[in-house]
Structures are given as C-alpha cells and as structure tokens.
Symmetry: C2
Subunit: 470 residues, 2 copies
C-alpha cells in the first residue's frame, strides 16, 4: 500500500483524462455503459476508450491498450475479466497512469484463488506507485465535474450538486442503485471502496476532509483495515467536518456475512461502538438514516445546544416527538417569558412547548402568518437551540406558501430548523419535500427523522467544541 | 360508564342511520364537511342533518333537533360549540339514539372547567345508557359501509378495504391527516378515542376482537384508564388477533406532554413495557412502523418459527439485513442440502443465506426465472420459516414481471414473504410498492421494515402458540 496522504486521491475524483478499459459492445458491454454514463453526466475531462477489438465508440477513437494513448492519463477504469486485470494494471503503471478503479470482481471476495490475484494487484501498486480503488467496486462519482465510473445503466441524468459525500463498501450506494435525482440528495462525491486492496477508508477520509465541496462525510463500512489509524483519522476529520458511520456486522452472524461479502473480517461490536464514540463519529442505525440524516448539515448553522422547540399541528405527534427528542439526547426547551408573551398574543393555547397550532389553524381564514410568526418566535428565543416545524399539506396549493415562509425565515437564520411534512396527498407531500430539500433544508416524511437529525447536529456541535478545546 | 361489552360499539361503526348535528354552512361548517365526507365515501345508511337555522343541505331535509326526526337514529355525530354539547347529548338520549361521537373540543383537555363539562356528559351516558366516543375526536371510519365521521375536508374518495383496524388517541390517525389512498393501507375500521369520557381502549379492543372484517389491531394510545383491565383484555384479544401498540409518553417529559394533550396521566414506562410483553402485545417504536408493520398480517400465513431466508441483490444490504434480522429476534436460516443443491444448480454463488442474486443477474439475458426459482427454493426449504425478497426496479417495465412472479408464488404459499423494493426511479418504486400492497403483500422501501415485519409476525405466532396452550 502507498504511504501517501489523502491528497493523492485527486486522480480518482478530479481526473483531467480517463481511460475506460472494457467491453465496448453496445447495450451490455460494461465499458460501453461507463462511457455512456460519463457522457450522460457531462464529464468535463477527456475520455479514452480502450479495447483491442473495437475501432470507434461514441464517435471517439478506440485504442488497443493504454500504451497506445499519446496523452497523459490520470485515471483508468478497468472492467475486464478477472484474469486479465493484473496485466492491464501493469500496463497502466508503465504508461504512468496515476490511479486505477478496478470494477472487475472475482478477487478476494470469492476465496483464496481470487485473493491471490488481488495480492498481485497490490504488489504492482506498491512497486510502481499506481493507486487502486477496488477491485469489486463501482468506483467514484463527482457532481462537480460529472465524473461517474459506474458500469451499470443509470436511468436519470442529473444529480443535485451539494455538500454530502456518501461513501460505502457496497454498490448499493451508487447511482444505479438509488433514486439520487428523485430524492434530491445534495451530493459532492461518492465512493464505493470495494475490496480495498489499496485505497481504504482512512485515505478516503483524509481526502474528503480536505475537499472544499464536502461539508459532511457519511460512510457505510463493513470492515476496518487498521482500527487504531481509522479512529485517529476520524477524530482529526471530525474537528473539521461531521463523520457519520453506518457499520453493519453488528451481530455475530452479520459479521460472518460481511466476511464472505468483502473478503475481510469485521471486529467486535462493543469495541467499535466505544471507539467511534471516543472519536466523535456519529453512528447511524438504518439505511434511511444513512441517506437522510446528513441533510441537516448541508445548509444550516449548528445548534449551539440541545434545547429543541417543536411546532406541531397535532397533539398526538407532539407527545411522540417529545419522546423521540428526549430519547436521542435533546431537551424540550422551556420558553422565555418574552416568547410565551409573543405566542400568547397569537393564542393562549400556543404558549407551551410543543406548540400545537392544530386547534387554532382551522379557526383562521389565513393561518399562514400565525404559523410563520410561531416559528419566528421560537427561533428568536434564547432558550431554544433548534426547531422542528410541522407542515401539513392536502394539495399542491400550499407549496408556494410554505416555500415563501421558509425563504423569509432562512434569511437571517442562526439556528437549524428541521421540517416534518404530513398530509393526505403523497404526491404533493413529496413535491414539497423535494422543493425544501433542494433548498438545503432537512425535510422529512418521518417525524422521528426530523427530530433525530437535529439531535445529531447538536451532538456534533458538542463534540466539535470539545475537540476545539483539545 | 356503561358496563356492556364491546358488542355495543356496533352503532359507532355499523349504524343504519346517523344524525349530523353542527354547522351546515357551506365550505367551512363542520357539520357540512361531515356530510360531504360521508357522501364522498358512499355511506350506505340514512343521514339526517340537524341544525335549527337551515332547511336543506345536500338535497336532504334539515331537522331543527334530533327529536324532530321520526325514524330511529343509531348514531349522532355532534360538532357544536362546547357549551351546547351536554344539552344536545341529553336530547339524543331522550330520542333513544344509541351512540354519540362528540367531535367538539374544549373539554378535559383544556383544564378544570372543561373537565367539569365532560363529567356532565359522562353522567348523561350513565343515566340513559347512551354510549359516547370522545369528546375531542374525529370519531370512526368503516370501509365496509363508507362511514366516516371526520369533520375535516378529505381530499380523496377511496380507501382500500382490508383487515387492519387503526385506532388512536389523536386525529393524526385519520383520513384528513394521512394519504390513506396513496399508501394503500388495507383498512377495516378506524377510531380516534379522543378524551375517552366513556368508550375506551378496552371497549374498542373487545369490539374489534369480534369484528369479522378486522384481522389485526393497531393502537396508538397515550394513557390507559385501567391498566389491569387493559392488559387482561389485550391478552384475551391476542389469542384471536395480533395487537400492536404505539405508546408515546415513554419519557418523563413525553408523559407530561401527553397529560396536557388528552387530560389524563400516563403511567410508568417500565411497568407498561413489562405488562405489554406479558400480555403478548407487540410494541411499535415509530409512526412509520404503526402504519406499515401491520401489513404483514393482512394476507399471509404466520411464520411457524423465526428462521429467515434473505434474498438480496446487493451484498452490502445482505450484511445489514442479517444484523437487523438477528437484532429483532430472527435467526438466519441454514439451508437444507436439498435447497443448497437446488440453488447451486442456478449458480454456485447462490447457495448460502443471504442469497445474493446481484452478481449473476447482470450476466443473464432473462434473469427473472432465476429470481423466481430462488424465492421458490428457499420457500420450499423446511429450515426456512419466512422470506424477505429484494426487488430492484429502474423503470416501470419490471412491474408486470414482478407482479406475475408473485401471483404464481402466492398461489400455494404456506410461509410469509416480505418485499424490499429499491431502485433508481422513485415513481416506479412507489407504483410497484402500491401494486404489491394492494394484493396484500407486505412491501416496503426500507429493508429494515421488511425484516422487522416478519420478526413481528414470528413473535406473534410464538405468543399465540403459548396462549393456545394455556
């Protein structure tokens, strides 16, 4: 393995030129699909298709091998039969290619003979300085330059540019496996580490820590190569950016399944938990949390404490929200006398937390100013660190009203707000959800996620404050 | 309070005639909206609008008061100002109305003077035998006869007829607060108990236990009037049908919020937890679980044990699934030699659990028969009690193929299957989801829900078996 720091990974995410080495058979060839995807997302660099038996693909000249390309190549994407890979990697190294993503599978994840082939790759890398992501990976994605190394068909052509880096050890976290467009995840980079024969979670954390496009790092990780180094790196990165971890293999049987999937062993759950906490990482429990919780860090200030105000339109959910808040480490704020006064002027029923605007909304011809003033009042309260607001929607008509309210509220905001949307028309709910999310607001269809996202942000603020004191 | 058993609640759900007492002002009058909703859902009984200042509504004659109606009235829906309610309830009792749903609020939930008004209602009920649901409730819903007592505008006109009874102590669980149509919840009855001045959770459980349309009872409950009686009733009902409970007020602060919302006190979390478990109830943690988990009981056999087979299209999710399964009490099945053989014939890679069909699907021109045979093989295995299958969708094209596969598989099914849908097109994912759900299959967009639903079903089978032995 190379000893260089994370800065070296630039070729994997920011290459000026890439070689795509694989089958160029139309509709089915994996090299063909990679190039198709790259063009679909308007990659800004040069692309060199490599295949000994084609002459032309996508109007581009096809080269017999990487050596035949005159220009320098930053990144090679290798999707050829397992046994051909080490030869091709050797050619790449000789050509001076800086980095290779080995999409091909059949290596350590399949048993001893595959592991032997994988060790050959490692040796070439060590001897020549060529860095490798994979094998057995779908590689990287960068919304800033349109790079996508995914060898599977992607049914959409746009991904929201944003600040979340989604990292994984599985192809599930990829453009071919998620409705990235429909869900409006604001993405900076993505990376599937695959079998991690060279580049591993530590390298990736170091790179993303320096990446100006990335504000929050989320990582699905099954095994950790060097626990001590990983924890030290996380701690260092957490001082700059939040690190959220989804670590399966929690149960003994899960750990066993992980071993057969990636060809490495995962460690003891108890040790991981303690180490993650010590390093200031945030541990996630479900795939939904993996995708959704990071939104809270995208476009909002951190809460400076753990006191939450909950604005609900239903008493029943208010009660459940209090439970969720307390269970994930938030405290229900006691409003200041000024706020109690301000809310009481709207209605005496509104003067306690959770604030249930449900009973008064149906009595008003125009309830929107009351809702807006309620949110503004609790945001202004010095006893409040963060707010969850509830938006009810029964048709598309409320959407522009809600968007206007949040446009005004967000102008001078110093505290984070998360939003829970509920209502009767799933299509309208999802449209409002997407519109709010596209503006960088943490909006959810699950009240528990809306509250937990703030708890995670408050936790991160506390961790960061403590690290700053170190 | 009346001492009659649950059978008495029939008038609340199966009335032949109803009186709607409230404002008939068009677009805004709550009585008007109730009648509008009732007509929208094609209620099969007779409807009598009651209002002293109207003559006609919806082409129906309006009566000055219930006494003016000649025909018998089974159910009165009362949505009038707080102070008028007890007089109207007295009139209903004199008329011989069997049951009243008091939608009006302003009673015990607002403080002592409201509590006093509520006690008046209780006294009338006790003296006359009139049963009351509420006050402060949106009342009942019955998909079998189109009854809906909801005083709020409902933006859709169809609810899937099914076997789940959703009960609550909050208006959030209502047609005006949920996309019941879009989510295809298969509903038999719904009931918001409100302040529970008369009819309470025990009465409701007894009624639903006998209801032939209801196969599973889900209840959101904030406070329990008589803990001992409730637990005994749950235990009795569980012998017939699963009872799933979402009980907020878990934290001290949540309990306090609950008290101010419904005007009663909730008990200690630890005691509830032990008592629920002892009674064989299933405790839910989130609103998403409340709505989604019951689907597993709708149209499938119970698992006869806790051994799960997981069919995945991605190794990473396979590992996470194993964790989820083990954490919620399932065991990952060890396949029998016959199954290992049968799967190996498809591909040697498929012969272990979780079965990851991901690597071989892209290599096949027609992967569907392999997927179907994989599911069939694990369903046939005597070492397998239940199955979670993963369906990937990138466009609407796969939908008819998947529907056909499950039509065939479901024909002679003796074990439950839950389905996790993932993919790249949210619209297509939701269409497939809805189609599978409409056929009574527990299909989800969250793998954790797909697995937990089977764990809940396996737990219920175990509980029921033990109760049967009592």
């Amino acid at each position: 393995m190379n000893s260089q720091s994370g800065g070296d990974l630039r070729a994997f995410f920011e290459p000026s030129s890439i070689a795509v080495i694989g089958s160029l058979r139309e509709w089915g060839g994996l090299g063909y699909t990679v190039i198709k995807n790259i063009r679909q997302f308007n990659f800004t660099g040069r692309v060199y298709p490599i295949n000994p038996s084609s002459n032309e693909a996508f109007g581009l000249k096809v080269y017999r091998d990487v050596g035949a390309v005159q220009d320098p190549i930053d990144l090679a994407i290798v999707i050829t039969p397992t046994k051909t890979v080490s030869g091709i990697i050797e050619q790449c190294a000789q050509k001076g290619v800086k980095a290779a993503i080995i999409v091909s599978d059949g290596f350590a994840e399949t048993g001893e003979s595959g592991a032997r082939l994988q060790r050959e790759l490692v040796k070439i890398g060590q001897r020549t300085g060529l860095r490798i992501v994979g094998p057995n990976t779908i590689g990287t994605l960068n919304t800033d330059n349109g790079l996508v190394t995914n060898p599977y068909f992607i049914s959409y052509d746009k991904i929201l540019k944003g600040n979340i880096a989604y990292c994984s050890q599985s192809g599930i976290v990829g453009a071919q496996g998620q409705p990235l467009k429909d869900q409006a995840y604001p993405i900076s980079k993505m990376c599937d580490l695959g079998n991690k024969c060279d580049v591993n979670e530590v390298d990736l954390l170091n790179y993303l820590s320096q990446d100006p496009q990335t504000r929050v790092i989320v990582m699905h990780i099954e095994d950790i190569k060097d626990g001590h180094k990983f924890i030290n790196t996380v701690r260092k990165v957490v001082a700059r950016k939040p690190v959220l971890l989804l670590k399966p293999g929690r149960t003994e049987r899960g750990a066993k399944a992980s071993a057969s999937h990636t060809g490495s062993l995962s460690g003891s759950e108890r040790i991981y938990n303690a180490a993650f906490r010590q390093a200031g990482a945030i541990r996630l429990n479900t795939w939904r949390e993996f995708w959704e919780i990071p939104r809270v860090f995208v476009n909002q200030p951190l809460p400076k404490g753990n006191r939450i105000a909950i604005i609900t339109i239903t008493g029943g959910v208010g009660v459940a929200s209090v439970d969720t808040a307390e269970e994930c480490g938030l405290a229900v704020a006691d409003f200041s006398p000024v706020t109690v006064n301000r809310l009481s002027r709207l209605s005496p029923q509104l003067a306690s937390n959770p604030v249930d605007v449900g009973p008064i909304i149906p009595t008003l011809d125009n309830p929107w100013p009351v809702l807006e003033e309620t949110i503004a009042a609790v945001l202004d309260d010095p006893n409040v660190d963060c707010v969850t607001a509830t938006l009810y929607i029964s048709s598309g008509e409320e959407i522009p009203v809600y968007m206007d309210i949040f446009d005004r509220l967000m102008k001078n905001i110093t505290k984070p707000v998360s939003i829970w949307i509920y209502g009767t028309d799933l299509g309208a709910m999802q449209e409002l959800l997407r519109k709010l999310q596209e503006r960088g607001l943490p909006a959810y269809l699950d009240i528990e996620l809306a509250i937990k996202s703030l708890a995670v942000a408050a936790y991160y603020f506390k961790v960061k404050s403590n690290l700053d004191l170190d």
